[in-house]
């Protein structure tokens, strides 16, 4: 040791040249060590290219452009198909559209939704890239995950914004999923940063422009009608009278339940009964203790006069299921009740926790407004607002996606309408992108969002599989077909008929009135 010290002191330190070289080396080594230490200390939180686990979370969030399936095997086939399609595009010829969905959701309902959204978006991408007219630019689809509850929306939004610059050329975000607070914030931030957003299944009124004459989300377009429109369609369909209806609503609420509740309250102005609130757990996909509340609510219902036969339910699907189960076990079995609710009802189909007895109760009917339904256009005779031919295009696509080159895309389900609505949303995104670049070049980011007010009229509307999509000046669909669906005793859905927010289908020109 002493010898080493002497060597350092005399043979290195005293010779200035060696001293400086040694100091430089030591500094470099220390730097390297610090960097190495920090790298070693830093956890590898990467899940896949573009996808990371944020601190304090085990979710993989971010934007994925590989075959990474967010550890959800059911997505794998579709994502591989998307990846194949993405790789068919030559560099520079495409723009990117991101599908914003909670890919890491853990409950079966949401996962089913996401899968169907994924499939719908992919089919629209495939159709856009392979359509015979050869329109440009081509579309690349990437998957953006803000987390199961959307908690990491800021991370994902930041990443999406980065992708608008550079070779990704991100030009629109579709999907968004449910009308939750996090999603609302995400949409707000995306649109604030000038990224056009096309909501597929969001229905909340306050997640839309044009409410009270304001446009808080510039560049947002929606494919689904607002809750108000749904409620109006429902009302026009059911001819609900304020005297005979009873409102049950989510007390804490999220944008979806709140706007639905507000729409229902407008309909029930002058009702005899006070509306019945319930308080669900923070994560509304959890069971919680609300089942007890609903047992009491059903008790209260039994105490109403016989004329009261309509229950308006403003809540999410788990609570809806609990409520139906409670109603199925009501004391007054002789009373007839019809439960009307928004598109959350679509989750009930195939829900194994739904009490079969309640389903089979002939006096208990559950009807809701679906975002879309596969049987809607083939069975309904409306001549405007959509067509069976438009719906058939998607069916043909689905058939071709069963095998190469388009498919396979995994198990397909149309009943919940998510696939159809996601397909339409993606088509609207493509419509906007291509509308903003008539020459086929890459459009400017903001130009895409400026297209929405012009999506109307015979030529410029989008003939969606769920019906015509004619947007008003705020990007909301005008008089969008609302399929009313009924839950069958075998836990399936039965299309009842198409209802219209305006009470009737739009005119052929499909121009919203001023």
């Amino acid at each position: 040791m002493a010898r080493v010290w002497t060597w350092l002191r005399e043979d290195i330190w005293e010779i200035r040249f060696r001293r400086y070289v040694a100091l430089t080396l030591v500094a470099a080594l220390v730097g390297l060590g610090v960097w190495g230490g920090m790298t070693a200390a830093k956890e590898n939180r990467s899940c896949a290219p573009g996808v990371v686990q944020p601190k304090g979370s085990d979710e993989c969030v971010g934007v994925s452009w590989t075959t990474y399936a967010f550890r959800r095997p059911q997505f794998a086939e579709t994502i591989r198909a998307i990846n194949r399609e993405n790789h068919r595009l030559s560099p520079g010829s495409y723009v990117t559209v991101a599908l914003l969905e909670p890919f890491t959701a853990s409950d079966a309902d949401n996962l089913g939704d996401v899968l169907h959204e994924l499939q719908g978006a992919y089919l629209a991408q495939y159709q856009a890239n392979h359509d015979t007219t050869g329109l440009k630019p081509k579309i690349r689809l990437v998957l953006a995950n803000p987390g199961a509850t959307g908690a990491h929306w800021r991370h994902t939004v930041d990443q999406l914004e980065r992708m608008t610059k550079g070779p990704d050329r991100l030009r629109a975000v579709t999907g968004v999923g449910l009308s939750t607070d996090n999603n609302k914030k995400a949409v707000q931030e995306l649109t604030r940063r000038g990224i056009p957003v096309i909501g597929s299944s969001i229905t909340a009124d306050d997640l839309a422009n044009g409410q009270d004459g304001k446009d808080p989300f510039p560049g947002l377009a929606r494919v689904s009608p607002t809750n108000t429109d749904e409620a109006r369609a429902l009302a026009s369909f059911a001819k609900v009278s304020a005297a005979d209806a009873f409102l049950v609503y989510d007390r804490t609420g999220d944008p979806y339940t709140r706007t639905l509740q507000r729409s229902f309250e407008k309909m029930l102005k002058g009702s005899r009964y006070e509306a019945q609130p319930f308080t669900p757990p923070a994560d509304r996909s959890k069971e919680g203790s609300t089942a007890n509340v609903f047992a009491q609510v059903s008790n209260i219902l039994c105490n109403t006069p016989k004329t009261t036969d309509t229950v308006l339910f403003a809540g999410r699907h788990t609570q809806l299921r609990q409520f139906i189960n409670a109603l199925g076990a009501r004391g007054c079995v002789d009373r007839r009740f019809t439960v009307l609710t928004g598109d959350e009802g679509s989750y009930l189909a195939g829900d194994k926790d739904l009490d079969p007895a309640a389903l089979k109760d002939p006096l208990l009917t559950v009807r809701y407004t679906a975002l879309a339904h596969p049987d809607a256009w083939p069975k309904d005779a409306a001549r405007t607002g959509g067509s069976a031919a438009d719906a058939k295009v998607l069916r043909d696509l689905l058939a071709s996606a069963a095998r190469e080159p388009a498919g396979p895309i995994g198990k397909v389900g149309l009943d919940d309408g998510q696939l159809i609505i996601a397909y339409d949303a993606m088509r609207l995104a493509v419509h906007g992108i291509r509308g903003a670049s008539p020459t086929g070049k890459v459009p400017a980011l903001r130009d895409v969002g400026l297209q929405w007010p012009q999506v109307k009229g015979k030529q410029l509307r989008v003939n969606g599989a769920s019906g015509w999509i004619c947007l008003d000046a705020h990007g909301n669909p005008y008089d969008k077909a609302v399929p009313i669906v009924e839950l069958t005793p075998d836990s399936r859905t039965r299309f009842v008929r198409i209802a219209w927010p305006e009470g009737k289908p739009p005119a052929k020109e499909c121009l919203p009135p001023s």
Binding site: T6, E10, I15, F17, R18
Partner: protein, 709 residues
């Protein structure tokens, strides 16, 4: 860090830094810098001293202390290579200084920690021009050999300069090729050299070009390096003052090349301290030829940063007339040297003092026993270190050789100094040994005249020496030989002492020992002493007191103590005590080797002085009837006690010491007038004897008889 030298801490200390550290800027044996004492101009240090004082050892130690840390060169002016040109080389193209410069440059060029070889292009160009003056186109092999040695001084060993060996052979071919026909050689050689220096674009070659242009400033060269080198070569061959002039430029070239190695940011960041040039025997031509130009250049303002340390035999030299003078201990903390105006004032003469008794003790212990004594090793007798110091007077050479002899001979039972001196000592394991005193004399008095000096060692002054030379030495030696030897002793730095021809007691003791052992029956020894006894025979003149003590001294040397006892006994009551004591000391300083019979022959080989001093022989003594028998015996015991205790060759006997004290006390009772003096001596002398110090008459600072320097 350990230095192999004892008693030279003033030079080699690190904390606080000794003279060497302050000059070189580096601690000895360590690559650690220390502040310079002379950041600007530094003194040309000359270590002065006689033979055997360890000057060469100091220079060797300096070289070892700094080798590998800073460039160091050590030459010895007495080295045979500086005495005469090598065979075949014409004398006019060679000088001791040129040879010394080549040797120094070769040693300085060696790489050190942190820096590579030093190139000497200026010196090489100059030396080549000088050497070319001795070349003709007949002896090409010799030219190749000489040119190669000189050109290799350019070698820096840097990979940038490429394969220097190849460059050298290329240049040599060019030089040889340039010597066409029978015309003059010097000019073409210089032309080819400068041409070779001007070629190439590598950094090394740029250095060479710069070196070539350095000669433009040579007087009368008119800015042409070629003309300058031709003039240099011509001046060198001319000899005399021209040669001095040329040599001065060569020395300047060496220093300029060294300066180059230390200039520039990059160069300085690779090197610490200053380069060191060590010149042993600077009084020889090779040394003076370096010393004088350096001093003159420094006085003229041509400064350099080279640490010159030289060793001068003796204490003065004409070239160092105005040099600053210090003893080494004075320069331990700071030399306080300031340059004056004359060249010689740029030198600092540092005289090396003899070693102290402590140093002697350390050396004897380490040399005689080794650093870690083996269990079976003979113990060093406790008085030996002091006795050694008393005999040698602190001469490092004497102490080291005696200690070496002790290591080799103690196990054989030789424990007295006399035995150790006469016993064989082998300086190297592969060499046959010879008696230690001969080995010592070979080092102290080399170069002839040892036989003559051996005889004259018994003399006391020039007169007695001449008498001895006349009687005992060949006729051609004579008085002039005596004067010559006397001058030589002074020149070599031997001290003088009143009452002795050879002033240095150690050298004198050795010479007398040699005189005694010169022939088997000691005839020469007796003849010499008898000659001197005759020379100092009692003439009845007033100065008889003085001549008597000389005569008695030599009689005692021949083993006859009776007349000395009688003289001291008779003079005791009436002479001044101080004079009496000094007579006692002088007479008792007679050399003693063996007990002698009345005819001067050895009879038993034992030292009888102790038994006489202790009174064991008193019974057999018949003091003359007319005298005080008690005083007679007391004086006899006292004389033998002093004789024994002051004998540099014998370990002091404690019992005799005690007896000496007693006798002196008794005598002090007999002489009320000299009471105090005798009493003082009774206290001082035993202590001095035990401590190994020479005896002095109390209160008398003059050294009498057996004294130091």
């Amino acid at each position: 860090m350990h230095t192999g030298l004892h008693g030279r801490g003033a030079l080699f200390d690190t904390d606080p830094p000794g003279l060497a550290s302050r000059l070189v800027g580096l601690r000895p044996y360590q690559l650690r810098s220390t502040p310079y004492e002379h950041p600007g101009e530094l003194p040309f240090v000359v270590f002065a001293g006689g033979r055997g004082l360890g000057k060469s050892a100091v220079l060797r130690e300096l070289r070892d202390a700094y080798r590998g840390h800073t460039p160091v060169a050590l030459i010895d002016g007495e080295d045979r290579q500086f005495a005469a040109p090598p065979p075949e080389r014409p004398a006019e193209a060679w000088s001791p200084v040129g040879q010394a410069l080549t040797t120094i440059a070769e040693q300085l060029a060696e790489p050190v920690t942190g820096a590579g070889r030093i190139g000497f292009p200026r010196l090489a160009a100059g030396l080549l021009a000088v050497a070319a003056g001795g070349w003709s186109n007949r002896d090409v092999p010799r030219i190749r050999q000489e040119a190669e040695r000189i050109l290799l001084l350019n070698e820096t060993g840097s990979w940038l300069s490429g394969f220097a060996g190849r460059w050298v052979s290329k240049v040599i071919s060019k030089l040889v090729a340039s010597m066409s026909g029978t015309g003059p050689v010097v000019e073409p050689i210089i032309e080819a050299t400068l041409e070779a220096f001007a070629e190439g674009i590598a950094p090394a070659h740029r250095r060479l070009r710069k070196a070539a242009t350095w000669y433009r400033d040579y007087p009368n060269a008119g800015g042409s390096p070629k003309l300058a080198l031709i003039l240099l070569s011509r001046h060198f061959r001319a000899g005399g003052d021209s040669l001095r002039h040329a040599e001065r430029h060569l020395v300047r070239a060496l220093l300029a090349d060294l300066d180059d190695a230390y200039s520039g940011v990059m160069q300085r960041s690779h090197r610490r301290g200053r380069p060191v040039v060590l010149i042993d025997n600077v009084q020889e031509p090779a040394g003076l030829g370096l010393l004088e130009p350096v001093l003159r250049d420094r006085a003229d303002g041509i400064t350099d940063q080279v640490v010159f340390c030289a060793a001068l035999r003796g204490y003065a030299h004409p070239a160092l007339r105005n040099a600053g003078r210090r003893t080494l201990p004075e320069a331990a903390r700071e030399s306080g040297w300031e340059p004056g105006t004359s060249p010689s004032s740029r030198a600092l003469l540092v005289s090396l003092p003899p070693l102290t008794p402590d140093d002697t003790l350390h050396i004897v212990d380490t040399v005689a026993q080794g650093p870690s004594p083996a269990p079976g090793a003979a113990d060093v007798p406790p008085h030996l270190p002091h006795a050694t110091h008393r005999l040698t007077g602190g001469s490092p050479l004497g102490i080291t050789l005696l200690a070496g002899s002790a290591r080799q001979n103690l196990p054989q039972g030789a424990d007295s100094l006399g035995q150790l001196l006469t016993a064989d000592v082998a300086l190297h394991e592969d060499r046959d040994g010879r008696p230690t005193y001969q080995e010592l004399l070979a080092h102290l008095v080399p170069g002839g005249r040892l036989d003559e000096l051996t005889v004259l060692a018994a003399a006391h002054d020039r007169d007695s020496a001449c008498v001895l030379a006349e009687a005992q030495l060949p006729e051609d030696f004579g008085a002039s030989g005596v004067l010559d030897l006397e001058e030589r002793l002074t020149a070599e730095g031997w001290p003088t002492a009143s009452g002795q021809f050879v002033g240095d007691p150690f050298l004198r003791a050795l010479l007398l020992l040699r005189l005694h052992h010169g022939d088997p029956d000691h005839a020469r020894w007796r003849a010499v002493h008898r000659t001197l006894v005759d020379h100092y025979r009692d003439t009845g003149e007033p100065a008889a007191q003085d001549t008597a003590r000389y005569r008695l001294h030599h009689e005692l040397a021949l083993g006859k103590a009776d007349s000395a006892v009688a003289h001291l006994r008779d003079t005791f009551p009436r002479t001044d005590t101080r004079v009496w004591l000094s007579s006692l000391l002088f007479i008792a300083s007679a050399p003693y080797f063996h007990p002698h019979d009345p005819d001067g022959r050895d009879f038993d080989g034992h030292d009888h002085r102790a038994s006489v001093a202790l009174g064991r022989t008193d019974a057999a003594q018949q003091p003359p009837d007319s005298v005080d028998a008690v005083l007679h015996l007391r004086v006899r015991r006292l004389l033998h006690a002093v004789w024994q205790l002051t004998d540099p060759l014998v370990l002091p006997d404690p019992k005799v010491t005690e007896r000496l004290r007693f006798e002196l006390e008794q005598l002090s009772n007999l002489r009320p007038a000299g009471n105090a003096l005798l009493w003082r001596a009774s206290r001082d002398w035993p202590a001095d004897a035990l401590a190994g110090r020479p005896f002095h008459v109390p209160g008398d600072d003059d050294e009498i008889g057996n004294g130091g320097r």
